[in-house]
Subunit: 293 residues, 2 copies
């Protein structure tokens, strides 16, 4: 499917989606929020990785399995949710051997154990093609959650965890999903809107602004650059948390923040304009981001 068709398809999916009364947060956020009988809600995320697009052929299968779960846990973190369990299906090439499949499973399971998210089911199929690994992660909102992309308001500050850029040189396979940081943000905040930086800081900030119906000013010079290099504005796959909060909430978050990854204020929400401030001058913020091959 051509890149333009992919965008049209995603837009079509959202436009033709039929609203369901039990769905508190529909398509188009990092996860869906489903209301069960009673008060209980589920936060649901599903992402697939393909060989050649999301990881190179020859990548250690343990890291591939790990990443497939990690990107979904990152979605739950962005929703302010705690994972409870996950399911995985894998389509494997005919030449894939047993030891590789076991290593892939082990990589996924080990990360799941670290975050209290056992792999409870799935399916394995063999096909003529590369590895396709699909994970569905199931979570429940943390107290104060879920957090969507929709709540940013003019005057709110914008912050990001960690440092950005250069993830594709290796970090995208080994990053720790920011679940613990997300829990702290909900305890200290909560944020008014949140997303994980998967496609790039600029494009993901545009998404918060799109969903919230606002603009923003991003101060590029303040964006923390990762030692891995690359472009912190649009490299993508950083899997850091990008969020907004009213100034007094942001202040108490900053004051109490003690996670080693750090936390940096990088801009503010505006009413309409979307501005990139860089080297002292301001320009319209480009909609730039990372696209998988």
């Amino acid at each position: 499917m051509a890149p333009d068709d992919e965008l049209t398809f995603l837009r079509w999916l959202e436009e033709t989606d039929r609203p369901d009364g039990r769905l508190d947060v529909p398509l188009g956020d990092d996860g869906a929020v489903w209301r069960l009988d009673g008060d209980q809600r589920l936060v649901l995320a599903a992402d697939a990785l393909c060989e050649g697009s999301h990881f190179d052929s020859g990548t250690d299968p343990a890291l591939v399995g790990r990443k497939a779960l990690a990107v979904n846990l990152s979605d739950l973190a962005a929703m302010g949710a705690r994972p409870i369990c996950a399911l995985a299906t894998c389509a494997l090439p005919r030449g894939f051997d047993l030891a590789q499949a076991q290593a892939m499973t082990d990589g996924m399971r080990r990360l799941g154990e670290l975050f209290g998210c056992p792999i409870v089911g799935g399916d394995t199929v063999t096909h003529d093609g590369g590895v396709v690994l699909s994970v569905t992660a199931i979570g429940v909102p943390e107290p104060g959650g879920p957090i969507t992309r929709c709540g940013a308001e003019s005057g709110h500050h914008i912050a990001v965890t960690g440092a950005l850029g250069g993830s594709r040189s290796g970090r995208h396979l080994t990053f720790l999903p920011r679940l613990s940081e997300s829990r702290s943000l909900l305890e200290l905040g909560p944020p008014s809107a949140m997303i994980d930086v998967s496609d790039g800081l600029l494009i993901d900030l545009h998404r918060i602004a799109d969903s919230s119906g606002t603009g923003f000013r991003l101060d590029a010079d303040r964006v923390p650059r990762h030692p891995d290099g690359g472009s912190p504005l649009d490299d993508g796959e950083d899997f850091e948390l990008l969020f907004t909060a009213p100034p007094h909430v942001m202040e108490s978050i900053q004051g109490a923040w003690d996670h080693p990854c750090g936390l940096t204020m990088i801009g503010e929400i505006l009413e309409v304009d979307r501005i990139l401030k860089i080297g002292g001058s301001e320009e319209p913020a480009p909609r730039k981001g990372f696209r998988h091959a």
Copy 2:
């Protein structure tokens, strides 16, 4: 992955699975059963379809989308569960066009609407390979459920819904998952063990016997043959419900059964021996079933 490796991998998955106190039914059944806080339980199933294995290239994309959801709903039916929602990821070939992707989605959504199971999230990726469509279905147990493969006991009768054989000539793309029949079975029974016939009657009956620690006598001459032809014992992809119940329970199920697909008694559970009765003579029941290409 070679077929033998696939079986070894599945065995390894089950053997190395770490038990989790919140998991009422672990790997190896049609679905996992997860206990949430409070009394609520989720029934979870995940199955993937690959072009060339589960459907031919050139198959109407609407039927492919439909089948991807249907096989998962069939798993929920086999568990005695009602679907609440589903998530889908698809890996699409680069040549796949927008209209095909939309038709695939529509096929899946329409079946979901029929069974009260909206598609609430997912992911679309493009890769060098055929269509791989992965669905996770989330359900809740019907009253009296969930039903596993484990409860069959010597003396219980064996029955199957509908008629078997020849599904791969087309029916595997259009079958209706037996959710309504499953609900009736739970109201009238419940069954002591249940599975959906996905890989073939013989192999799936062996699975009930494996999980329950029993034998069986299958009366081949009584197995209802579908007009589509083929072999009703091992064609697979029938997606009928195969279940067991004590004689008096089976009697009340049969007496009240009013589903058009019918219901047929086809054998009984034995203590140890696994016997295929065919044309008046008895032989050890072969472990024969359908394997995807």
